[in-house]
Symmetry: C2
């Protein structure tokens, strides 16, 4: 059994490779829900859906292995239309969060299940099953928890910061509203303690992995588990492939480097997988007490995704070099 702590696009692309080399039944994904939001009364779980849409197969399969996700954005469904969203503008609703017509079906269904008393875990399991997945996807918590970004203009909800304001505001940190009352969802701690290996996906360490680690019990479970804990660095050549991680790390006066990733996770990490472009960081990372795997971490196509996953799984199964 392999457990993956997961954010959105970077994690989803890594998971596309992982399910090429590990049976889906043996994979448990713990998904960040700090990015969740309500739009016009519908519960949207962006990171969960990004993973599901990446892993779901189009009928007849797809040569690219790109799943059902919109390949241009990394979120939403391929070839979706936006008629409902356009029509919602008539009622004064915000339409900066682009929810397509087919995508909306997922949010309508999730909201329907939640209103009927299902937990987010139960709703997520049902949605993943409806998309034909055999992986287990656990929201990190069933409790309401919202990541808010500290900016000079005050606290801003995460999606508003990222999407509506395009991450333009200076980043001073995050607040996790609800964290004091949030518990890990059923199965999350077990998935860490009982796994053969735990993988920290190449996701934003501040706003994607950070909220998962902040949940009571998660960091302790990672420290204590007998599973090998391996992170894939989202930093490549001192930069970020996609998203605001570099800006956020700088805002917290961190180095934008693979070493910084190792530093952030050093209390529970066994091994860090870094890109060839960051090979010079190797000694510094080893000095943190971590094993280091240096490889190609840029996941251009399915072959690269599977190759990276294979290296990570090998590093779980034997001491890597």
């Amino acid at each position: 059994m392999i457990t993956v702590l997961s954010g959105g696009v970077g994690a989803a692309r890594f998971l596309q490779g992982l399910v090429q080399v590990v049976p889906q039944q043996n994979v448990t994904i713990v998904s960040n829900t700090g990015d969740d939001l309500e739009m016009f009364g519908l519960h949207v779980s962006p990171d969960i859906d990004i993973v599901i849409y990446h892993l779901a197969s189009a009928e007849g399969g797809s040569a690219s292995g790109g799943g059902l996700v919109n390949p241009e954005t990394g979120w939403g469904l391929a070839a979706d239309t936006f008629h409902t969203l356009d029509a919602l503008a008539r009622f004064g609703h915000d339409t900066w969060f682009s929810l397509g017509d087919r995508d909306l079906a997922t949010h309508i269904h999730r909201t329907h299940l939640l209103r009927r008393g299902h937990t987010l875990s139960q709703a997520t399991a049902e949605i993943a099953r409806a998309f034909g997945l055999d992986v287990t996807i656990l929201p990190m918590t069933d409790d309401p928890l919202r990541t808010r970004v500290e900016t000079p203009d005050g606290l801003i909800d995460f999606q508003e910061y990222l999407v509506k304001r395009r991450a333009r505001d200076a980043f001073r940190g995050i607040k996790l509203a609800g964290i004091q009352d949030a518990k890990p969802a059923p199965g999350v701690i077990d998935a860490i303690t009982a796994a053969e290996g735990v993988i920290i996906a190449p996701s934003n360490p501040i706003v994607s992995i950070g909220p998962i680690l902040a949940l009571p019990g998660v960091r302790g479970a990672l420290r204590q588990t007998k599973a090998r804990v391996i992170a894939v660095s989202p930093i490549v050549g001192g930069a970020v492939i996609k998203g605001p991680a570099a800006k956020m790390m700088k805002g917290l006066r961190m180095e934008v480097s693979a070493w910084q990733i190792g530093w952030l996770y050093q209390d529970f990490l066994d091994c860090l997988v870094i890109d060839n472009a960051d090979a010079a960081d190797r000694a510094r990372i080893e000095a943190l007490g971590l094993d280091v795997v240096v490889t190609d971490t840029i996941m251009k196509g399915m072959a690269e995704k599977a190759a990276l996953a294979r290296r990570v799984v090998e590093a779980i199964r034997r001491k890597a070099t």
Copy 2:
């Protein structure tokens, strides 16, 4: 002020004519909500929406005066698509109630308002305003009330009977679930007592007008109002233009005739407007103590709709012949 008791398509087409001859500000519509339903957690009010979509103007107007409604079906929005509904099938949802992508925006917004504590009256007013209407549309009640059809297979929800089962089951009557606790929505009784005229639209007398009349206080208000109360017969030449009214009237051992309409409403009606094709019923209807207006009631185009409305408004303002 003119108040119209309204069902769906027949009433909406009549109302398109009425707003040609009476300012929208002077028209109050009391809409049947017995047909309302929940689909995948969304509150759908078919009769209210049919009226709104008929009366709303496409940008730049429309020569046909057909509003935004789908002209082929009489419900839903013109040129709508069904991507969300198709995608909901993945989750096992019923898709026999054809809700288009743009139409869904209305139901999402209504549900959002109801969840936030708005009444159906308040939600309806806001939706009508968003569609640019100046008429007042009142749901007959803010309370849950559902029309169920008695059939040999037992009680069936109205839309399931009509749409899913295509009104094929033998009709034995209706039950109005919730009627004992339902109150007329704010303004409904006033709209009847304070009007210059009350029009019973050419709607199904059993399942469209019947539920409105069954609400406590409505029938009494119609009997007591000083307003002239005029019905437009939905029966033309002993048949029904559209819908299951004839089957339902037969199922209740009624005559399918203009006279039967007068008979059903005789305790509160002043005048019945019937089609030229039913002129032979005139004496029988007058024998019920009603005035009769004989005219062309088939509303082919906007000119015929306006002409019919003009005749009805004239009959409100002076004793008609």
